[in-house]
Symmetry: C2
Subunit: 113 residues, 2 copies
Amino acid sequence: MFDPVCPSGLSPIRVGDKWAGMIIRCLEQGPRRFSELRVPLRGITAKVLTQSLRGLERSGLVVRTVHAGPPRQVEYGLTPLGRSLLEPMAALCAWTEEHWDELLDAREAETAI
Amino acid sequence: MFDPVCPSGLSPIRVGDKWAGMIIRCLEQGPRRFSELRVPLRGITAKVLTQSLRGLERSGLVVRTVHAGPPRQVEYGLTPLGRSLLEPMAALCAWTEEHWDELLDAREAETAI
DNA sequence: ACGGGTGGTTACCGGCGGGATACCGGCCGG
DNA sequence: CCGGCCGGTATCCCGCCGGTAACCACCCGT
C-alpha cells in the first residue's frame, strides 16, 4: 500500500494530533475502512486511531459512513474541507522530504557536541 | 508589532511544539532579541521560549547569535533552512485563515449535539 | 553600595496525550 | 457450538509538554 508520511517524531511538522496528518494523507486517494487505516499507520492502536478520527470528524475534516451490513462496514473519507487541506499539507510534506537530510544532519551535529 | 499566528489551540495545524510555528513567523522579518519575541507571543514564559528556541536550533531552523556587549545582546534569526520553511507554512496559515469559520462551525455543530 | 532591568537557567509539578491491555457485540465459517 | 474477524470501548499507566517560581550573572543609574 502507500507509505505513511515521515516518521513524525523527528519532523518539526505536525498537523493536529500525532496521527492526524498521516490519516489525512492515507485518505487522499479515497475512503478507507477502519482496519485498512491501521495497516499503513503501523503501530497505531485501535483506541488512538478512533480518538484521532473522532477529532478529525469534530473538525469537519473527515466523515464516518456506516454501510448497513450485515457485514457491517465503516468507511472514513475526507470532506471537501479535508480535501482542501491536502494541498498545503503536500507543500509541507514536500518540504520535509526535501530537507530531511539537513534536519537529520542538524540533529546529529548537536548530539555530537 | 506583528500579530501572532492563529490562536493555535483551535487550529488543527501545529509545527513542531506548541510555539515553534509562531516563533518562526515572528522571525520572518529578521532576527529578534529574546525579549522582543516575548511581546508578540503573549503569555509565553521565559523557560518555554528558551526551550522552543533550543529545539529550533537543534533542528537547524534558527541561529542564536550573541553580540558581545557590554549590553549583552542575544539575537535569534532564521537559518536558510528555517527561511525555506516559511513558504509552506504560509500556505498552511492561509488555509487556516480561509477555513477558520468552517472549523469553528464544525466544532459548534458537534458540541451542540 | 544598592535596586532594578536584561537574558537567561534550574527545580519542581500537574495534566493530558497516547500506548498497552482487556473486553465486547455482531456476524460468519467450520 | 466454537473460534475468529470487524469495529470498536473501557481502563490503566507513563512520559513529556508546558507552566510557576526561584535563582543568577552582569550591567546601569542614583
